[in-house]
Symmetry: D2
C-alpha cells in the first residue's frame, strides 16, 4: 500500500543496500562470504562517519540473520560480556560526581556508565530496515531467555531502546478492511491469537460487513507489519456469547447501540512489554463514536484465561485456604459441581459466582491475577457482566469453563476507575453483580 | 497530501486531544486555565498508566507553549536542577558495581544514574504530536544557550534523545517538485539558507524544469516539515558560477552529464547536531543515477564561508605567521590585491591560490577550518575546482570573495577518501589543482 | 499528488508515447518532421487495429498542436466539409426506414447518418492524454467561432462528445487546501474569475484558515486540471459585503452557522456548455453539513453582472418602456440618482429596489436576464437578500453598482423551487423583500 | 486502497444517494416502495435540470436492480420498442438534408434519427455509480440475447456508448501484487479464465515471487473492478509447458531473459466487444522492458482452443475436403493416431504438424479460425513455437490435445506483422516451423 511505502521505494532501497554492500566488500577476506559477526561488530564499533556506520550496521544485521542458532547465542553472549563499560572510566566519573553531585557530573556518569550495548543498538539503527531486523533479533533473544537467564540484562536494554523507538507519537492507527492489502491481511490471519481465523473467507466475514470492523497500530518503519489489532462487532445490545459474533450473518447498517471488542492480539513477539493496547482501545472508541454517533456502550467480550488454571491447580491449596477461605471453599464447590457428569444448568449461577469472586479476590500483589482483567481494569474499564456458556469451543472451555466477561469502557468514568484501580487495586463492577459477591 | 496524512487523521487527532484535555480537567484549579508548568510536570512524573501519562504529557507541552519567555527559562532551570538523580541510590548502585563489575550491575548503575530528565523526555513523547513540540522546545533552549551555559547539560540530553528518534531508519526521502503540497513548498522557500528563494515563481524555476530537482528528508512524525533538502541542477558540464544556475532558462531534457548540488539547507534549528546531510547527498546520487544513467559527474557548487572571515581577521596574525608563514604571506598578498580599487583580473589566479591553500592548510584541529569543506570532505568528496567570480552577489562577495568550489562525489573513491580524511585529515584534490599548492 | 497520478505514471507515459512515435515513423516522408495534418487524418481514418489507431491519433493531436493558426482553421474546415456522410448510403438507410420504421432500421439510419466527425473524435480518444488535447482543441475552435459561424456544427459535435466523456459519474470532488499540490493551486489562482487572487499569500488566506474552504471537480483524465471550483466562507451570520470575507482575519474554528459561497469559477474554456456547477454546489452543501453540523444556512454572495450592462444601455429604451413601463421608470430614476456627485446614502433603498425588480422582471425569454441569477435560481435557490455597498471594488461598481445578492440554498425547498422556476419561470424570494416589489 | 477511493468517498457517496432519494420520494405513490420501472423511466426522460436527472437516473437504476427477471425483459423490450424516434421529425430532417446535403443538415438528421435509447443511456450516466450499474445491466442483456435476438439493436447501442466511456485515454494500468487490496485480488481469483486459481495461496504464488507478475487495466469509475488482466512469468528461456510455470518454485531475482504471458482474462461480461487486450500486452511489454532491461524475448504460452473443436467436428467434412484436401487428410490422420490406445510418442510430430497447419490454413473469412491466434496475430505477434504435451490438464487436453503455442511479440516487427496480417491475412511464423508446413 502506497500509504506505507513511505520513504525510499523498494527499488531505491535495493539500490541503497547494494551501495552499502559495495562499500563493505573491501573489508571481506573471502569474496561471496559475509564477515563473521565478530568482525562485523568490530567494524561497526570502530566506524567513523555516517556512511561507514550504515555499511557496517547493515553487515552486522545481515550476518546475524544468516548465522546459525549457536552463533546467535555466541553473539548475544558477546554483547552481554564484552559490551559493558570501562571500569576505570566509570570510577573516575563516579568520583567526580561524588565530590560534586551536579547535573553535569551526573550526566557524565550516566554517559560513562551506559553499557556499550546501547550505543551498539543506536549504531545498528543507522541503516535502512534496521527497526525490522532488530525486532526480529529480540524475538530470537526472548526465545532463548528461559534457558539463558544471564541474557536478561541484554533484553532489558533492548526493551529500553524499543520503548523509545515505539513511543506513542510514532504509532499510526489504521482501519483494516477488505480494501487493505493482502500483505497486511495475511498477517492479521496469522497473528489472531484469541479466536482463530480459519481462512480468507472467515477473515472477510470479520472485516467487510457493515457491522464488523478492525483497527491496528502500525509503525512507519515496519511498513506492512501490524503491531496490535482489535476486532469489533457493532450490535444492537450486548451479545450473550462469542458464537453470536463469530457465526452471525452480517446485519444491515442499522442504528447500532453497542460496540463489542471481542478480540485483541499482539503481533510482534519481539515487542514484548512495549504495550500499545491501552491506547488502541481508547482511540478506537473515539473513532467509532465519530463514525457511529448512535453507539453508546463500549464493552469487551473477553475470556478469563486465568480462571481455568486457578481452578485446576491444587498446589497452593493450603496457602489459598489460609489467605481467603471463603474463596477457597467456593472454588472447591465449583470444581466438584463441574466434575459431575451433567452439571445441572440451574446451578450455572455457582460458576458465575466463582468466576466473579475469582476476578475480585484472587490477586497477584495488588492486582487481580487474571491477565485479561488486569489489562482492561488497568485501562479504566469496569467489570460489567459475567456470562456462562458464552464460549463453548474447546479452547473456551479449557481456559474459562465457557465463561466470558464484559468489561465496560465508560468514557465518563474511565479516569476515576483507572486511578482507584492503580492506587488501591479497587475493581469497579456493575451493581447488578453485587449479589454474587462473597460477604466475607 | 495524503502521503503525509500518516496515522490518525487531523480530525481524529483533534478528538484525541479533546479527550486528553477532558481527562486533565479535574486536575485544574481554575477552569479555563492551564496548569502551571510545575504542576503539570509533577503530574506527569507521577502518572501511572499510559493514558494518564499521555494526558499529562500533552498538558506539559501545551502549558510550555503558552508560557512566557521567563517561565520557559524557569522551566529549563527546573529540569537542570531538579531532574537529576537520587544521590544515595546512585551511590549504592555504584557500590554494587564496584564490588562486582558485572553487566547486570553496570546496567543497574546506568539506569540509576540516568538523569530523570531523560525519563521525562520519554514520557513527554507518549502523546500525539510530541516530536514536533519537543523539537520546538529545543529550538528555544538553543537560543538561550549562549547566555545560559549552565543549560548545556540539558541540551546534551535533548540531543541524545533526538539522535534516537531521528535514526536513519526513520528518515524518508522524498522528491520535491511542483506537485508537492503548498504546505511543504512554503517551508522550502522559508528554509533555503544558501541562495535565497525570492517568491513562488523563483521556487518553481528551481523545482519544475526537467533540468532542476530537489530532494528532502522527512520524518513520519513531522508530517509537512522537511528536515534538510538539497537543490540540484542537471547540466551538460560543470558550470562556472552560480549565476548560470539561478538565472538560466530551463534546458530541454537533454542527455545530462553532470549533477550539480548547489544548495543544501537544514530546516530545523531544534535538530542541531543531528546530522542528515551525508546520507541525503549519497542517497540522492543513487536516485539520480537510476533516473538519468547518462549522468557521470556529481559535484557541488559550494561557497567558502570561512574564507571571508579568515581573510579579514587579523587578531591571530602572529600566531598564524608562526604556524604557517607561507600561508600567512599569501593571505596578506591577497588581501592587499583585493583592496586595490580595481584588482587586475589577470591576477585572479592569486585569489584562487589563496582559497585553495586556505582550504588545504588552515585547520581547526586535524580538519580544515572551513565548515562547508569539512562537511563534503568528511563525506568522502574531493576538492575538484576553485572558481573565481562564481558568485558575485553581495553575500557571495562577503563570504567568499566571489569564489565557489566544486567538491566531487566519485562513487568509486568515496570510501577511500573518507577514510584518509577521517584518519589523517588528508584532503584529496584534483591533479590540476596541484600547480596552486604552496611548496612549503 | 499521488492521488491524481492515476494510471500510467509519467515515466510509463513517456515510454508509451515514444513507442507510438516509433510506430508512426515509417509513415513519414521526411525524417524529423511531423506528418501534415491531412496525411495524419487520413492515416487515422484508415487505421485498423487498436495500436495503429492509437499511433495515428497521437500523430494527429501532435501535428495539430504544432500547426500554425491558419492551418488549424484549415483543419477545422476540413472536418466541417469532408467528414460528413455518404449521401447514397444515408439515402438507402432512409428508404429502408421509411418502408419499415423499425428500431433496427432506425439504428442503421442513425449510424449511417452520423457525421464521420464523431467517429473521428472517438478515434482520436484512443490514445493517452487525448482528453486533454481535445479539450484544448475545442478551446481554439470556440475562439474562432464568432468569426466563423460555419464551424458551429462542428462545435456542437464536440459538445455532444464531451457531454459523454464528462458525465457526472466520471467527476471527482476534492477539497482544495494548503496541502494541495502547487500544480493545482497555481491553476486556482489563474482561473479565479470572480474575485481575483493576487498572489500565493492571498490564496492561502482563502484556503487554509479554519473558516475558509474550497472544493473542485476533477476528471481522472485531466489529472491536475480543476474543471470548476467554489470558494466558501464559514461565518456566524450572513455577511453584509464581500470585504468582510476577503479582508477578514481567520476566525477561530467556532460554531459556524452559515456557509457563504462567494465565488464559483469555471476553469476550462474548452468545456463551455458542459455544466458542472449545479452538482458542485449541491455536493459541497452535503460535505459541509457532514463536517459542520452546526451550519444551517447555505447562501451565496453573488454579483449581479447583468445589472450594470442593463442600467447603462439605452438602445432599447422604447421597447423596454413599452414592455414594462414601471421597471423602465425605476431604471431611469436610479440612473439619475447614481449620476449625482454624491448620491445621498438614505436613498440606497432606490438602488436595492431597482436591482430587485431588475432580477424579478427583466427577462430573456422565460427566465431572468442576469446570468448569475439564472444559474442559482435554476439550481433551486431562492433570492434571499439584496445588499448595497457590498462590493466597492472597481469591478464591483462597474458590474453591479456595488450591489451583491444572497441566493439561499434551502435543502427542504430546493426541488420545489427548481420545478416552479423551470416550469413557470417563477422566482422565489424572501418575504422581507416583498416591500421592494413594484406593484404593477 | 486509497488509490481507488477516487472522487467522493464512500461516506459522501452515501450522503449523495440519500439526498437523491429524498428528492425522488414525493414522486412515489406508496411509501417504502420504489417506483415502477416505467414510471421511473418517464420521470427520467421528462426531467429538466441536472439534479432532477440525477435523481431520476438513480431511481431507474435502483428499480432495475430490484426488478424480477421478467420485468427486466419487459424493460429491455420497452427500450427496444418505445425509445426510437418520431417518424415525422426524422422525415422532415431527411427532406432538408436531401434538398441540401450540408454538414448542418446532416448533423440535424443525425440528431433527429438518434434512437432515444442513446439519450436515455446518457441520462442514466448522470448519477454516481452509473457506469458500474450500466455495465451490469448490459451483462443481463447479453445473457438474454441468444433467446431474444430482437434485442440485438439495443445491445449495439450499449456497445456504442461503452466504447466511448471506455476509450483508451480513460484506462489505467496497475500492477497487481501482494500489496494490492483484497477486494481486487478476490476478483482476480474469480475472473481468471485460463488457468484456474485454486485459492489465496495459489494466487500468492502467481503475484508475489520476484519471477511472477500481473498487470490489469482499471477504469476510474469502476474502482475495485479490473477490466482485464495478464499474468506473466519471468524466466531464463521459453518454458516447454504450463506446468513449469504453475508448479515451479519461485526463482531468485536472476537476470531474466524472457517474459512469458501465460494467461490473459477479461473480467467484465458486460464489456463484451470493448477490447483492451491489445493495449494491455503492449503496455506491459514496455513496463517490463523498463524494469528488467535484461529481458529480450516476449512470448505468450497460449492454448489453441479452436483445435479441439475442429478436430472433433465432422459435420463439414465434405466441404473441408473440397476446400483444402491436404489439411483435411492431415486432420483425419491425426485423429486416428490420437484414438489409438497409446499413441506412440515419436509421432508427436504429427500432432505438431496438424496444429501448425490448422492455425495457418483453417480460416474464418480472411483470418485464422482459432480465436487466440486471431487475437495475438492481430496484435502483430508471430507464431513462434508449437509445443506438444505442454498442458496435460483435463481442460488442456480437451481444448488443445495438450498442445500450447508461443506467439512472439518482437517490438521491431510488430507493426509490419500487424499490417500484413490485417491487410492480407498473412501469418508470420518462425523459420524453424517451415518444415511442418504442408506443401500444397
Amino acid at each position: 500500500m502506497a500509504y506505507f511505502r513511505l520513504g525510499i521505494s523498494d527499488m531505491a532501497l535495493n539500490r541503497f543496500q547494494e551501495f552499502l554492500w559495495g562499500l563493505i566488500a573491501p573489508l571481506r577476506r573471502r569474496k561471496g562470504e559475509r564477515l563473521l559477526l565478530d568482525e562485523a561488530l568490530q567494524t561497526l564499533m570502530g566506524s567513523r562517519g555516517e556512511v561507514s556506520t550504515a555499511v557496517a550496521a547493515r553487515e552486522v544485521l545481515d550476518s546475524y540473520q544468516e548465522a546459525a542458532d549457536e552463533d546467535k547465542l555466541v553473539f548475544f553472549r558477546n554483547l552481554e560480556q564484552n559490551f559493558n563499560a570501562d571500569f576505570e572510566t566509570v570510577k573516575s566519573a563516579w568520583q567526580a560526581y561524588e565530590e560534586e553531585p551536579s547535573g553535569a557530573n551526573l550526566s557524565r556518569l550516566s554517559r560513562d556508565a551506559e553499557p556499550r550495548r546501547l550505543a551498539l543498538l543506536r549504531r545498528l539503527h543507522q541503516t535502512p530496515n534496521a527497526t525490522h531486523d532488530l525486532v526480529a533479533m529480540r524475538a530470537d533473544l526472548l526465545e532463548l531467555l528461559p534457558r539463558r537467564p544471564e541474557l536478561e540484562t541484554l533484553d532489558r536494554e533492548f526493551e529500553q531502546m524499543f520503548s523509545t523507538w515505539f513511543g506513542r507519537d510514532f504509532l499510526v492507527l489504521r482501519e483494516i478492511d477488505w480494501s487493505t492489502s493482502a500483505a497486511i491481511l495475511e498477517r492479521i490471519i496469522r497473528y489472531e491469537a484469541v479466536h482463530e481465523i480459519l481462512d480468507w473467507k472467515d477473515l472477510r466475514s470479520r472485516i467487510e460487513p457493515a457491522n464488523r470492523c478492525c483497527f491496528a497500530f502500525f509503525h512507519p518503519s515496519l511498513a506492512d507489519e501490524p503491531l496490535i489489532f482489535v476486532e469489533v462487532a457493532l450490535t444492537m445490545g450486548i451479545p450473550s456469547g462469542i458464537g453470536e459474533i463469530l457465526d452471525n450473518e452480517a446485519g444491515a447498517g442499522a442504528d447500532f447501540t453497542t460496540a463489542v471488542f471481542y478480540s485483541i492480539s499482539n503481533c510482534q513477539p519481539g515487542l514484548k512489554r512495549i504495550s500499545f493496547g491501552n491506547f488502541l482501545i481508547k482511540q478506537v472508541v473515539l473513532e467509532l463514536q465519530a463514525a457511529h454517533p448512535s453507539i453508546e456502550t463500549f464493552v469487551t467480550l473477553s475470556p478469563v484465561p486465568g480462571f481455568g488454571r486457578w481452578l485446576e491447580s491444587d498446589a497452593d491449596d493450603d496457602e489459598e485456604n489460609a489467605q481467603d477461605a471463603a474463596l477457597f471453599n467456593l472454588k472447591r464447590e465449583c470444581r466438584e459441581w463441574l466434575q459431575r457428569p451433567e452439571p445441572a444448568a440451574e446451578n450455572a449461577e455457582l460458576l458465575r459466582r466463582t468466576v466473579f469472586n475469582f476476578l475480585l479476590r484472587k490477586r497477584r500483589g495488588m492486582y487481580p491475577e487474571d491477565p485479561v482483567a488486569r489489562f482492561h481494569l488497568g485501562n479504566g474499564a469496569s467489570l460489567h457482566r459475567v456470562i456462562t456458556g458464552a464460549d463453548l469451543s474447546e479452547n473456551g472451555w479449557r481456559q474459562s469453563r465457557g465463561v466470558m466477561v464484559n468489561y465496560l469502557y465508560d468514557q465518563t468514568r474511565i479516569e476515576t476507575n483507572h486511578e482507584h484501580y492503580i492506587g488501591e487495586g479497587k475493581v469497579q463492577f456493575n451493581d447488578r453483580l453485587k449479589a454474587l459477591q462473597l460477604r466475607t
